[in-house]
């Protein structure tokens, strides 16, 4: 597929230029204020009429099938929510359920300008298949933990998964370990060996809640970051999800080992986990990402909301309206670098053709004093009029364009949600 997108305002790493962008396959192959005529065999021409072309959001932490739990149990204490609602319901999930609810998540991602995610969930082949079948990009891990069995079982399962997922288009196996508090020594050893064998950095939930950090310190005399670092989990760098409760030593360790930090502000607020120290992380030079976490604890998969909130919460936390710049957080939200994605962090020649079109005529985008600030501080999903994933137009003016029978999908999803409720 070759696209010619013209009459566009293009958000490039060097600012906004008025011009034209072309794609060849899944890459951007031309970007210029000038329209040359040397290349005319495009499959589709798109006149943006002065609207804004931006890099798509890269959701750096999510559990996509958890759309099945959206609004399932609200305003509950974390423990009740987890043990009385989430875990029992998850026990009833089938591969087919996960496939369906991941497709539902993809519809939500695309309608909000997100085309790539760092995913962690069970039924992992089914989730990967849903991404592959919808053209969505993802790094996918199962979230290895002690319940997966011993060293050999964990290794075998990871290798099977890797082989199955790496065959699929736009998705890649990621070595995701659930968390320090669910992984004993044997599990961690298996993960570290897999990491070395396949040159895969390790991703993990990291210091999400105060309890988690305090328990770890009580048991091991050190923080989860330090403990995992000492055990070699971060020998190849890696990614920490949440990173709410970090001390200065944690941040030094993460910087030294090249561990990226992903913030999930909506989930952290809703579950009363806290606010991640983004300014400190940013000042320390740690690569940041922004994620939604699962729909069960958010409840939307909306990267506009996350980006806005990540920025504003930091101002509140530090009592400093200058704490972090909206444009810095936005850059993190579109890059995917925190989970290892390359050449996706902006619109330039050779970068992934993962993009969204923003309707600048919408009232919340006006006046056009500062388009980038409008995007972060006032922007929302309603402003996305087109989403392009890997060079394919997958969403346009409210329609999903990859053959999704959306009505049938909703029926199946609601039937599955109802069945799971009744089985409990």
């Amino acid at each position: 597929m070759k696209l010619r997108i013209y009459n566009a305002k293009i958000l490039t790493p060097d600012g906004i230029i008025d011009g034209e962008l072309r794609t060849d396959g899944d890459r951007i192959c031309y970007l210029s204020p000038v329209s040359t005529l040397d290349w005319q065999d495009w499959d589709r021409e798109i006149d943006l009429k002065g609207n804004l072309l931006v890099p798509s959001f890269k959701n750096a932490h999510t559990h996509s099938p958890m759309t099945f739990l959206r609004s399932r149990a609200e305003d509950m204490l974390l423990k009740d929510w987890l043990y009385k609602q989430v875990f029992p319901a998850e026990g009833k999930l089938t591969d087919e359920d996960c496939y369906l609810f991941t497709r539902l998540a993809v519809a939500e991602y695309y309608s909000g300008g997100t085309t790539f995610a760092c995913e962690m969930y069970g039924h992992t082949e089914a989730v990967a298949a849903a991404f592959a079948d919808t053209g969505f990009g993802a790094y996918i891990g199962s979230g290895i933990f002690d319940f997966d069995g011993g060293y050999d079982e964990i290794t075998k399962r990871a290798e099977e998964l890797k082989a199955a997922i790496d065959k699929l288009p736009r998705v890649k196996y990621a070595l995701a370990m659930h968390a320090q508090y669910t992984c004993g020594d044997e599990t961690i050893r298996a993960v570290c060996d897999l990491s070395k064998k396949y040159s895969l950095p390790v991703m993990t939930h990291l210091s999400e809640t105060k309890d988690e950090v305090e328990s770890c310190k009580a048991q091991y005399g050190m923080s989860p970051v330090k403990l995992l670092a000492e055990k070699g989990v971060f020998d190849l760098g890696g990614t920490g999800f949440h990173c709410v409760h970090l001390d200065d030593e944690d941040i030094r360790i993460m910087k030294k080992l090249g561990v990226g930090a992903v913030t999930c502000p909506c989930s952290n607020l809703k579950l009363a986990s806290g606010i991640a120290p983004l300014k400190k992380l940013n000042d320390a030079g740690i690569v940041l990402g922004v994620g939604t976490d699962g729909a069960a604890s958010n409840n939307a998969l909306d990267m506009f909301r996350e980006t806005y909130l990540a920025t504003c919460l930091q101002k509140y936390l530090l009592d400093d309206a200058v704490a972090v710049k909206a444009t810095d957080i936005y850059a993190s939200a579109v890059s995917g670098a925190a989970f290892g994605l390359e050449k996706a962090d902006g619109l330039y020649i050779g970068a992934l053709a993962d993009m969204a079109v923003i309707d600048l005529s919408a009232p919340n985008m006006q006046p056009l004093t500062d388009v980038r600030s409008n995007l972060v501080y006032a922007g929302g999903k309603q402003n996305v009029v087109m989403t392009i994933a890997g060079g394919r137009v997958v969403y346009e003016n409210g329609e999903l364009l990859y053959g999704e029978d959306y009505g049938a999908l909703l029926e199946k999803c609601n039937a599955a949600a109802e069945r799971i409720k009744n089985e409990l």
Copy 2:
């Protein structure tokens, strides 16, 4: 105008019913699961196809013309922002500018399901005219302060404004005093006398920042709430905007005097003002409202974002995922009771026909496990497919339906924003 809206899920005070709602003029005149055929002279029939009809949002605190400052100056310290950007730019505003930028705000309100606001700004006749010309409902005050002059000038101006505004449809003069820290004794005396003479409760910015409260205590030995109460400002009840820094005595005084509290969570975060004690206020039985504040400090006029944030910030603040219920905050966001609006707090016979239609098939509204939780925790402007203000369909599928030449409006707004920038 008479509307028949059928095949609807209707959010009533008693829960969601499948049925039909009819309007006559600006009121709801029929609401039932049953479609009777005794009344058929509707001007328009609307088949909602199972979508959700909800009360519209009532934005309980805003400065609509401030859309002209959207993204004008970001990530700045409050003092620099106010004195170097906001005040000088506001000095260049004309009545015509305020009229235009209020129309822009109305486009934003309508596209997000908001049909009513409690407004405070200068150039007040122009703002009122913009509301009246677009069918938007509002309580409008100028924000009286010492710069308005002495007792006689303030009184004369307020009476002129009241006479001019109360003639217009769907808008009403509100007695709005800017704030304790901008109003000396003479101003406050004029406001109190106006309040008694016209039976108008007083609205005011109240305890928004820590500095404001501390300065008041240093100067008068008491909090702004107590000081204004002692001076008689709240003798007829009234409304406090922001209410971030309140102590228990303040809350007791507000309850005793019947002062409503309006929260503006986005603005309070962005300007690092803090988080209002909504749970305490709610538990004390104080009537709550939700507002956006002006676009300069938000930067969107999006009541979904405010409602979501008001709920989740309270969970964070109190380290308690149960702190306030989403449905309680949502009820406050649609009622307008905190600024004295009556019969607008829900869909029932006799209530104002101010409503919005939510597309339940959108991915973030699925599955349909709990529609009300979806609305608050996952909902957004993208889900609003129709807005009805005072019985008129004013917005439908992205189009404004009150004769707005939207392209021309944007051109004029951008020209005005540019002119103001150049004049500084």
